[in-house]
Amino acid sequence: MNGLWAIVALVAFPGGLSLLAGGLAYEWVDRKLLALFQNRVGPRWFQPLADTVKLLAKEEIIPDKANKILYIGLPIAALAGGLTAALYVPLAGLKPTYSFPGDLIVTLYLLSLLTLCIGLAGTNTLDRFSMIGATRTLTQVFSYEAPFLLALLGPAVAAGSWQISTIASYAENHWLILMQPVGFIVALIGLMGKLEMPPFDAPEAHTEISAGALTEYSGRGLAFFHLAKAVELIVGLTLVAAIYLGGVSNPLWFLVKTLALLLTLIGIQSLFTRLRIDQTVGLWWRYGTILVLLQWLVLILVKRM
């Protein structure tokens, strides 16, 4: 990785700016599809960009009892976590910029770092709503993290390596969605949990705890969290598409697969009611884990033969 290509990768193409733009574009597709499913018009194409620009221009009010360094640092850490996670993932069908054995675990860790930052931001601002929101975010992380991780490690075991690029190339010729269907379902639902899409959006249930953990955030902080969520959306989709839907070898395949995955996610999302936090935890620990363990059982038996 000589210097120039690294800088270009980090700042321009698969990294920074294009990733942010891609994230916002995917967020627009998300909101537009949801509107389509609900028989209404939906936002214009530049709405997420407009929201971010507006938030960046807004004044940032820091609650006086909150710890200033944490208040400012957490959004930046969240966005940084999201962006670095994108480096190991085959974005836009290209080879991932960095890849080393075991980068699947690092990516997943970086993605959950983002949710952790939101939880910490909630407790740090000492607002009643954000306190409850933070506890819900962290409770939900503990509930979906384990099954989601196991569901993604299934194919890794099948491919015999923890490196995303090798798993992706292995996945190209044998479609893991057929070999491990249950694992795919748990990964899909886990992705919905990670992205806090309904029915798992208890942490930011605006009818109960107005904006959940991010109630006290405004201006730049909220813009960074907003961008981090958009990046997490695109990274999560690429990860699951790369592993389960037979790899993303070229940009066209990448677009088709991720958008198809997004369509199914939105379809599922528009059908369900928000679950209470205890119901989500119950759902994950009762059904999610058992399903993924069954999948692993089958996997081990197949590996043994």
Partner: protein
């Protein structure tokens, strides 16, 4: 205990135009019984002021100058009006009615809401317009 009972709605709306109308590009048709701006038939109005008495929002103002010569000014304040139609019910000369084809009543300044529906020199204006023969009916104010 079914899952996703809204599936039929959601899937059918994939191929259907959104329900939200694109106003002002798409103009809503006006319901026939819409009660909008007040309209006065100046001839039959005797200036009795019963409508002003009954108006819940005091949107009608009848300043009587000379009862015998039926000289009065009838001003209607559209910004206070509730569009309830009680004045139309109360008037026993049936000289009031409400427009039903115009409901975008926004205005840039407050004065343009107060409309004089019948002027004091209405009688004089009518006489002036009537030609010498005085045969056809006076033009509507």
């Amino acid at each position: 205990m079914k899952f996703g009972t809204m599936l039929s709605d959601v899937s059918s709306s994939l191929f259907r135009r959104p329900a939200t109308e694109n106003y002002p590009a798409v103009r809503q048709r006006n319901p026939a019984r819409l009660r909008s701006f007040l309209k006065l038939n100046p001839e039959s109005c005797t200036g009795c002021g019963l409508c002003a008495l009954d108006c819940p929002a005091k949107a009608i103002q009848v300043t009587m100058l000379d009862r015998k010569a039926k000289q009065f000014i009838y001003t209607y304040h559209a910004d206070q009006c509730l569009f309830c139609g009680q004045c139309v019910e109360t008037c026993n000369q049936d000289s009031l009615s409400m427009v039903n084809d115009q409901w975008e009543l926004a205005a840039l300044d407050k004065e343009s809401f107060s409309v004089v529906l019948r002027d004091v020199d209405y009688a004089a204006k009518v006489l002036a317009e009537k030609p010498a023969s005085g045969s056809e009916t006076p033009a509507k104010a």
